[in-house]
Symmetry: C2
Subunit: 428 residues, 2 copies
């Protein structure tokens, strides 16, 4: 699979807690992006516990298949933290206290009005021959060394510390190293991501079928999540065909956009809540939300965006029928006639929250998140979204989702925001 002038990287994430998963790994995304810009592809990722011998095995495995090895974690002051010892042992170097590591750490701690504890002094132990990497935001220094033609980088596991050390210390070093060898700059690995909502994977697959010309060095990827189907284009432009590859990527990006059409709601790291936020600001509109089965998730998502107070006025979480009547003025008769989960109640909720908060747009959701509460005619996963803009013609849309309680809540929130997005773009 290797191409000429290709440089492969391997990430080794260290920590017993990481081994059993359960939390998302934002470090890998950042590292893949930043290394990709330098034309370095992350091909493998290994996760090992806080066990010196296992870290040694992982390093020995990695040097056989990667030219850049990034270790994250295990640089803290506790006995758990054994990355320093493992790197020294794996590469046959000795550990010694290094003045520049100690100085950097002491200076950082002094800023916080603290002095190094005996345990923290361990953090200044660095393998002989390694270069110390300064930690601009935390106390643990990192380091790097070359062994068996591989560059081994040891960085903290805390995302903010790792990111700043990469930006300020590692990336300049990688660039300088590459230039000093008299090599032409590598072509960056470009990745374009397209987020869709509302169509199943098979339909999106059909839309993008045959997109990539035969022989083109662009990979097409599809990923299904509760939030929709993600389409990605990844190119590894080799330097000789850099311009050709850029032109192709541009062409393919436009083609994907046109094929996905209204189903495409965001690109790159953009999110649905950011997209609707920008459109609300652009139109000078204030929003209020009435949630039943999502329980506050839509409000939470909208307010994840800094500055959202400019367009989010309030939300009502109406879990009980009484709350729907009290807070939104939904007639109790309508609820008993149509049921709390119905298009009519969704519309009444949207009107109610809009009128009572005196804003431009009301958005609502009511549904059955399960696992209980479903019936033959109204099964778990039945969800209605309502939208009212005060023109007397409230919108309501029906959705039928599958999955567990959390998945149904997530999809419902996405569906509601997508109804809002389409309305904002005039396709409501």
């Amino acid at each position: 699979m290797n191409q000429p002038n290709q440089c492969d990287a391997e990430i080794i994430a260290i920590g017993s807690e990481l081994l059993i998963g359960g939390r998302s790994d934002s470090n890998s995304l950042f590292l893949a992006d930043e290394l990709g810009k330098l034309g370095i592809a992350v091909r493998f990722k290994s996760v090992v516990g806080d066990d010196k011998q296992d870290i040694v095995i992982a390093i020995h495995t990695a040097v056989k298949r990667a030219q850049v090895i990034v270790l994250t974690g295990g640089l803290g002051p506790t006995v758990d933290d054994c990355t320093r010892e493992a790197v020294a042992s794996a590469t046959g170097h000795r550990l010694g206290r290094r003045k520049e590591a100690l100085d950097g750490m002491t200076a950082r701690l002094a800023q916080w009005g603290r002095i190094a504890s005996p345990a923290q002094l361990r953090q200044a132990m660095i393998p002989s021959g390694a270069t110390v990497l300064n930690n601009p935001v935390g106390s643990a220094p990192g380091f790097c060394l070359t062994w068996k033609k591989a560059l081994i980088l040891s960085l903290p596991g805390v995302p903010r510390e790792m990111e700043e050390m990469m930006r300020q210390e590692v990336l300049p070093l990688l660039r300088a190293q590459h230039e000093s060898l008299g090599l032409s700059p590598r072509a960056p690995i470009v990745r374009q991501v397209f987020h869709t909502f509302g169509l199943p994977e098979a339909d999106i697959d059909a839309k993008v079928k045959g997109l990539i010309p035969k022989g083109a060095s662009v990979d097409l990827g599809l990923l299904v999540s509760p939030m929709g189907v993600l389409v990605s284009l990844t190119t590894r432009g080799n330097q000789s065909a850099l311009v050709k590859s850029q032109i192709l990527m541009e062409k393919l990006t436009n083609e994907v956009r046109s094929r996905l059409g209204e189903w495409l709601f965001a690109e790159g790291r953009d999110t649905m809540e950011e997209v609707v936020g920008r459109e609300l600001i652009k139109r000078g509109l204030m929003l209020a939300v009435a949630e039943s089965c999502t329980g506050g998730l839509i409000g939470h998502r909208l307010t994840q965006v800094a500055g959202s107070s400019a367009y989010v006025d309030r939300g009502a979480v109406c879990y009980s029928n009484r709350a729907k009547t009290d807070m939104l003025g939904v007639p109790a008769d309508l609820i008993s006639l149509r049921g709390a989960v119905s298009g009519e109640v969704a519309a009444a909720m949207a009107c109610g929250i809009r009128e009572r908060s005196n804003v431009s747009v009301g958005l609502s959701v009511t549904g059955i998140a399960g696992p209980g509460g479903g019936t033959e005619t109204k099964p778990v996963g039945l969800v209605y979204v309502g939208l009212d803009d005060g023109t007397g013609r409230p919108i309501s849309r029906e959705f039928r989702f599958h999955g567990d309680r959390n998945v149904i809540k997530q999809r419902s929130s996405q569906a509601a925001l997508d109804v809002l997005r389409r309305w904002l773009l005039g396709n409501g």
Copy 2:
């Protein structure tokens, strides 16, 4: 590091999207738990992209260091999915369409009123000599085979499908295989997890210091997250000392509980929202929540628990000052006098939501999530939690958090639920 009769496992997660992280890996947690019960320890985890050659390399690496290799993902119908080809190639077997795989798949699709597409037929291609593993909930069959003394299991990446296949097919097989070799059952790996909130890592570290007797085969772990500090005890009882090890673990568990005291809010997979839910039900209390900076996150978390409608009546997301006055009756004068982010407003919000919804307990949060909006006296991260039970003595608590907007929202929601938990337990 290997102990006699020890069996090590390696997980190989397949998927280019997993390589760049950004999503949590719930499969590893489940696999580590289930294999641990059989005394099989997950020592390594590898992540590789959808690249046949890279999967082959990962398998060849794994057989050198693990006796059980669990591959997840890459069994779908698209061209991306190349785990079948990779396992066949790595182990020198041929792929062939297998009747039992086809039958299981066809039967499953028939239940959904569908027939296999040409692409789906690829899913019935199984390496020669491998045993087909039935998929009880999805269409993609799995398979397993023994190669170089390692048991290689290939399972779907979709969590629900992987979990059911493990439960119904793989675990019985692992047990039977172990017995058929005439081996005594392995001692299970026991892991106890304790969740704390409210103390920094250093303080929790000090509390559990010196807990583990010298020479005991129990590992103590600490993990910091926005939701608090997690303490874990992990033992690998070898069979000969099984009873001794169980007694030790019980003793240590009780000791941890007593040392962590009021800071311990949950154990195992239990969550803060489940804990407060149970306590509310036990006391027959209804709750209403008024949120400002958390934007609906507390309501979302409370309603993640099935059956939460029994104790969650409603929530008000009062992002604007006007909403605090309209929805909760917080006097506009109080807001201008003390500021929206103040202990007085938090208390007034809690009283307001409780009175207006006519429930037993009102809980509120107001704070500055940032990045903007902070001042010298009221910096980003300043958060007040209020609680009112109608006795005329509302509680308010001040918190000062660090981190980005999301972290501050998460911590604020945890702090509010912890104030509620302490009040419920009578330590308010």
